[in-house]
């Protein structure tokens, strides 16, 4: 634009220059013309005079007088037109005097002739002097003309060069202008393209934004500072039962039960002054209200988003009716579970009291019979009674074992770092104390610890070590070992003995409840011990397995 202005300015300047040039050229032309006119005037005057002189006819004076009437004004005009040229002015001065003299001469001649009837010829021959003067005037005029022509030439050249310059300036200016315009046009085009691209990108990003909004699994409600709903997605429409148009621009409180609306307005102001992405209303039960007036529980997370409309708060809203229902159900189930557990406990309690009492009776009175009626009962009779007693005793053991197994299942596990080495040691000592006559070599690896429930682990070790103790009872040199082994990068605890062992073919039955691989006559037991061990290890999330050989000892491994 500047270029255009400058160009225009220059054009204007040059135009004026051109005008000035044209003016001065015209000026000069006129100068030359007027000089010619002057000469013509003089010649006409002369001719008129001559004619009159020769013929004495007044008609010849016409051109003379006519010329004369122009002469002064023409002369003045020349003077005017060459006023800027001192050289010309000087010549004019000379010319003036010559012309003046010439005119005087002519007047005189004419006057004389008038008086005479004929032309006598130049008496004083003023014609000669006249001729000289005229020649001088002609030469002056010629000189002046030359001068003017020279000037004209100059001026023409100047004008043409100016004009060329002007043309050049105009052209180049215009060219430049055009170029610039072109460039500007190009730039504008580029800008427009960029604009279009930006617009397109903006549209794409807006579409993406809308797409994300619509694809969100939760209802999205975007609210501006004034608490008016700025955006929603179709999940919001579905969740609350309003069409989008009914929501946009309205206060967000319309989605809440009336009772909380006022409080929410206050919270809203607070949030805007300290916005953070966070779940809303932590710990509070939030409720939303549908279009039909029904309320439902919600979960809301808040965050901010910057859009071209300024800072907005984006709420992701989830209808947690289902979740609340499920939580309720879980509560109910838990309560049921608790109740079931309590019932089980009561059952176990009852079992531990009530089942044992009759057993005691059976056993006691059988014994009483044996003792009191000894003389009236024969040997087989006594044997029967003994078997009754044995059976009841066994039943007692079974009940005890069942009770302890159920306790193990019911018990809450509280894991702590437990020193298994110490525990094994104390169990070993206890076993020794109960049967001091037995020679058993106990090897306990020191410092073995595990993160487990100590009471339950005690039961495990009591069972495993007790079994080892029991099944080595027929060995002269019983050897029982408790330690830890590394195998395939994982470690396991083990209890090993050199006792009766078991047939590996039956290892699948090892841990079955009441499953035994030996008759009770050989080794007493209910078959519940290993089942209990397995139950406990499994409750710790671990694994237990056994290896053995008939009469080749057994090793039981467990990993917690």
């Amino acid at each position: 634009m500047v270029f255009a202005a400058v160009g225009a300015f220059f054009s204007y300047q040059n135009r004026s220059k051109e005008q000035a040039d044209a003016a001065s050229v015209a000026h000069t032309h006129r100068g030359i013309e007027t000089l010619d006119t002057l000469l013509t005037d003089l010649i006409d005057a002369e001719t008129g005079e001559r004619g009159f002189l020769l013929t004495g006819r007044n008609s010849y004076l016409q051109p003379y007088t006519a010329a004369l009437s122009h002469l002064n004004s023409d002369f003045d005009l020349v003077r005017e037109l060459t006023a800027d040229n001192s050289g010309q002015q000087r010549k004019l001065d000379r010319m003036k005097s010559l012309i003046a003299t010439e005119l005087v001469g002519m007047r005189n001649s004419i006057a004389i002739r008038r008086k005479q009837k004929s032309f006598n010829g130049p008496a004083n021959s003023p014609i000669g002097a006249e001729r000289q003067r005229m020649d001088r005037i002609r030469s002056l005029i010629a000189q002046m003309r030359k001068e003017e022509e020279g000037l004209l030439q100059q001026r023409l050249e100047a004008a043409s060069s100016d004009s060329r310059k002007t043309r050049f300036v105009i052209l180049s200016g215009n060219l430049l202008g055009l170029l610039l315009l072109g460039a500007a046009g190009f730039l504008i085009h580029g800008e427009m393209n960029r604009c279009r691209i930006i617009e397109r990108d903006l549209r794409v990003s807006e579409d993406r934004f809308k797409g994300i909004l619509e694809s969100a699994p939760d209802a999205i409600v975007i609210v501006n500072r004034a608490g008016r709903i700025a955006h929603v997605n179709s999940q919001t429409e579905k969740m609350f039962g309003y069409a989008r148009t009914a929501l946009l621009g309205k206060p967000v409180e319309m989605l809440m039960p009336e009772g909380v609306r006022h409080a929410h307005e206050d919270h809203r102001a607070g949030y805007f002054s300290n916005p953070q992405s966070r779940p809303m209303g932590m710990g509070m039960e939030l409720r939303g209200m549908r279009q039909d007036g029904t309320e439902f529980p919600l979960e809301i997370s808040l965050g901010q988003v910057e859009t071209n409309e300024g800072k907005l708060v984006c709420a992701a809203v989830r209808d947690i009716t289902m979740r609340v229902q499920m939580e309720q159900e879980i509560k109910i189930r838990n309560a049921q579970l608790e109740a079931a557990n309590k019932e089980l406990e009561a059952f176990c309690y009852s079992v531990s009291h009530d089942l044992r009492a009759p057993l005691r009776s059976i056993d006691g009175f059988s014994q009483a019979l044996i003792e009191d009626q000894a003389d009236r009962i024969d040997a087989p009779g006594k044997a029967h009674l003994e078997r009754i007693r044995a059976a009841t005793r066994r039943m007692g053991e079974l009940i005890d074992d069942l009770l302890s197994l159920s306790r193990v299942t019911r018990a809450e596990i509280s894991r702590k770092p437990t020193n298994l080495s110490e525990m094994a040691g104390s169990i070993a000592a206890e076993l020794r104390r109960q049967q001091p006559e037995r020679e058993v070599e106990f090897v306990v690896a020191p410092g073995l610890t595990a993160n487990a429930d100590p009471r339950l682990m005690r039961i495990v070790l009591e069972n495993l070590l007790g079994n080892s103790w029991k099944f080595t009872s027929k060995r002269e040199h019983a050897h029982v070992e408790f330690g830890r082994t590394e195998e395939n990068g994982s470690s396991a605890f083990f209890v090993r003995d050199n006792g009766a062992g078991f047939d590996p073919a039956y290892s699948g039955r090892l841990f079955g409840a009441f499953q035994r691989l030996h008759p009770s006559s050989e080794f007493p037991g209910t078959g519940i011990g290993l089942a209990t061990v397995q139950r406990i290890i499994h409750r710790h999330g671990g694994k237990v397995w056994g290896e053995g050989q008939v009469e080749g000892g057994a090793t039981f491994y467990f990993r917690l």
């Binding site: 009530d354 009776s361 006691g364 009483a368 005793r393 007692g396």
Partner: protein, 150 residues
């Protein structure tokens, strides 16, 4: 009046017979008083006109207390015994089938002196009673009766 070394609280007649039999086997039978339920037990100690530890109302040397009793259960009897200054120091041995931990804890918590689980095997039971008798009647020093200041 004869002292009552043993006060037995037991509702089950079989159990009663067998316990007495066990006591007899250990020569302790003739010094036993029996209550068949918790109410009877409390009545023996705190019934109208009774004055436990007073003249004519000697305290037993030991109370063998079953837990599952009709009318008033064993733990309540224990609580009442411990609540009264006259019977607060009375040695009480809980003799019961249950080995449920919570019973043991509650028993000791309420101030029982001992907790014995009755074995199913009668032979073992007799042995247990023998040891009981030996300990509480012979070895243990009973608390002196609380003399009321009149």
């Amino acid at each position: 009046m004869a002292a009552y070394p043993i006060f037995l609280v037991e509702d089950n007649p079989d159990e009663e017979t067998l316990t007495l039999r066990a006591l007899e086997k250990n020569n302790l039978r003739n010094e036993v008083i029996i209550a068949h339920d918790g109410a009877q037990a409390l009545d023996f100690f705190f019934g109208p006109g009774k004055d436990p530890g007073g003249d004519g109302y000697p305290l037993p040397q030991v109370v063998l207390l079953d837990l599952k009793l009709p009318k008033v259960d064993g733990l309540e009897v224990l609580r009442r015994l411990r609540a009264d200054t006259r019977t607060r120091l009375l040695p009480v041995v809980i003799l019961t089938s249950s080995s449920e931990e919570k019973d043991i804890i509650e028993g000791y918590g309420l101030g029982a002196n001992s907790y014995i689980r009755k074995p199913v095997d009668f032979g073992q039971f007799v042995e247990a009673v023998r040891q009981l008798g030996l300990y509480w009647l012979l070895l243990n020093e009973p608390p002196p009766p609380i003399r009321r200041v009149t």
